[in-house]
């Protein structure tokens, strides 16, 4: 019998091989994929987020822990649907127009994916029109917009306005984040929530889905 706490520890250590082996062993002993995800991988990744926030982990540690989860998820993916495992939903993300920063956004994506989100990344320098078209054509529960510059923050606000004008605002919950952004600003521009970094984004997204 595989101890799923060991799987969490492998994620925390960023041990990709151990995470995959333990996931395989758990599956071989008929542990449901949803249990492997929720009692092994997700708690591990949440602990990694806590260590990052506490200043003990940095970007390299986040990346390799994310790798460990991604590899394990590949093993679980074919089974998760069949077993009706908890699935967080679809998340659309991009960096607003005029802004070229994507490191923070990429960390957010990794944390979301590790926590059960299916993420579509529109990249950097995304216009209001591109955000609106993606929201219109997709089936997303949450739209996340990243802005690292004060000068590009108004473009998050104008995207929300554009979504309203197009009658799409109520189709998605909206999260915003990035270095100069604040919860107060998020509220002011009509976003539903604010997240300051990747680990926080995963928690906030879960809360918006009522799954925290």
């Amino acid at each position: 019998m595989v101890n799923l706490e060991e799987l969490s520890q492998a994620v925390i250590a960023g041990d990709i091989d151990a995470a995959s082996e333990l996931t395989e062993k758990a599956l071989a002993t008929s542990v449901p994929a949803s249990e492997i995800l929720n009692k092994g991988l997700v708690p591990g990744l949440q602990k990694v987020g806590d260590l990052f926030e506490a200043g003990e982990y940095f970007l390299p540690e986040l990346i390799v822990s994310g790798d460990a989860v991604s590899q394990a998820l590949e093993l679980l993916a074919p089974l998760l649907g069949k077993e009706d495992a908890p699935y967080m939903g679809k998340y659309l993300i991009g960096t607003v127009q005029g802004d070229v920063h994507d490191l923070g956004k990429n960390i957010v994506i990794m944390m979301l994916q590790g926590n059960g989100w299916e993420v579509t990344d529109l990249g950097v320098d995304v216009s209001s029109e591109e955000f609106c078209a993606a929201v219109d054509q997709g089936d997303f529960q949450i739209l996340g917009m990243s802005s690292l510059l004060t000068m590009t923050m108004p473009n998050a606000a104008s995207t929300i306005e554009a979504l309203k004008m197009a009658g799409l605002r109520d189709k998605v919950k909206i999260m915003v984040g990035g270095a100069p952004t604040t919860p107060e600003w998020a509220e002011k521009i009509g976003a539903d929530a604010h997240a300051k970094d990747g680990p926080t984004a995963a928690k906030v997204a879960a809360a918006l889905r009522g799954k925290s």
Binding site: P60, L103, N106, D125, L149, M151
Partner: protein
């Protein structure tokens, strides 16, 4: 004191001494320049504003790019990766050059000795040499490796899983940058601006241990080479560098920019902690006051920066990153005027 040239003023500050007035130079976005002196070239603008130096970056002035998809504005950079030009005309890496360590075995380094790379530098030397500081950007080995060569994710992953990969990549990039620097010095560079972020708003990108192991040594090699030729170096990094600033200083940086206020870096505290070891370059906020403040607010903030960090010299008063296109032209002018109003040595601001 006699009136110094811009070059003398900047070099004096970098030696942690008092010049005649606090020096200032800055890269100014075209949109802002147009708001101040319509139609002027960057060089004419530098002269019009009587800036103490002119700075340009390798990424835009000496790297080659080859168009891959004109409609999508995608180009291949000289390292072999793909970049996409944004609406602000910045080339943003979208695909790294090196996908695995095996790619290094057959990697062909671009030639830093190609003459066209130095055309702009030659023009600047011809026009400004001896009068204004000619400040040449060199992309930091960590930034180059992370952004263009291995990609963010690949680089951070290799730091943990395959350190030799990082060391090999660093050696390749150092080879190029040191030859580039040699050529720049031969042609008349006064100062190097070693550009590349080591930190995020909250904290450094990597642990102190990794900073010492991977970031510090190649940076130190760039600085040591420049110093061997008598050329000082200013290190630029955004973010909260409180936990690692000593590594940058120990590596030999002469100046440190921008003492990022958005990351909680107070320039007065920086002056107290390491203002006797490195020239502080910053830090009027280009996130807030220069963008949305009034002229008077900019004037007061500039005065405050000089009051906190100017005493005894060792300050180049600049913005907290760059004069980007969101800065109000009148606010940039206000900053420059305030530097000249309040920055006369000996200071009398307390």
């Amino acid at each position: 004191m006699r009136k110094l040239t811009g070059l003398e003023r900047v070099l004096t500050a970098l030696k942690l001494q008092e010049p005649d007035v606090v020096p200032h130079f800055e890269r100014v976005a075209k949109k802002v320049r147009e708001g101040i002196l319509p139609g002027a070239s960057e060089e004419d603008f530098v002269e019009y504003m009587d800036l103490d130096g002119i700075r340009f970056i390798d990424r835009t002035h000496s790297w080659s790019y080859e168009t891959v998809d004109e409609n999508k504005r995608i180009k291949r950079d000289q390292w072999g990766g793909l970049v996409r030009y944004t609406t602000e005309d910045n080339p943003v890496p979208i695909e790294p050059a090196i996908k695995s360590e095996r790619d290094l075995d057959t990697y062909v380094l671009p030639d830093p000795d190609e003459e066209w790379r130095y055309e702009y530098l030659k023009q600047m030397v011809k026009r400004f040499k001896g009068e204004r500081a000619i400040v040449v950007g060199v992309t930091d080995i960590f930034a180059l490796g992370r952004e263009n060569f291995l990609g963010d994710i690949g680089y951070f992953r290799a730091m943990v899983k395959n350190p030799d990969f990082i060391n090999r990549a660093n050696d390749i990039l150092l080879n190029y940058q040191l030859r580039y620097m040699k050529n720049c010095i031969d042609l008349g560079t006064d100062i190097f601006w070693i550009n590349g972020d080591w930190a995020m708003t909250e904290k450094p990108m990597v642990s102190r241990e990794f900073t010492q192991r991977f970031l510090g040594p190649p940076f130190q090699k760039l600085v040591e080479y420049a110093h061997s030729r008598g050329v000082p170096c200013i290190k630029h990094t955004d973010g909260n560098i409180w936990p690692i600033y000593d590594i940058i200083i120990k590596a030999g940086a002469d100046g440190l920019h921008p003492i990022d206020p958005m990351a909680g870096m107070d320039i007065g505290e920086a002056k107290a902690k390491f203002g006797d070891k490195v020239c502080l370059c910053g830090n009027v906020s280009c996130a807030f006051s220069l963008v949305s403040g009034t002229v008077e607010e900019v004037r007061q903030e500039t005065k405050e920066v000089i009051r906190k960090a100017g005493k005894g010299g060792g300050l180049i008063c600049m913005s907290s990153n760059s004069i980007h296109s969101g800065v109000k032209p009148e606010n940039y002018v206000a900053m420059v005027k305030a530097i000249r109003e309040f920055g006369q040595y000996p200071l009398s601001l307390d």
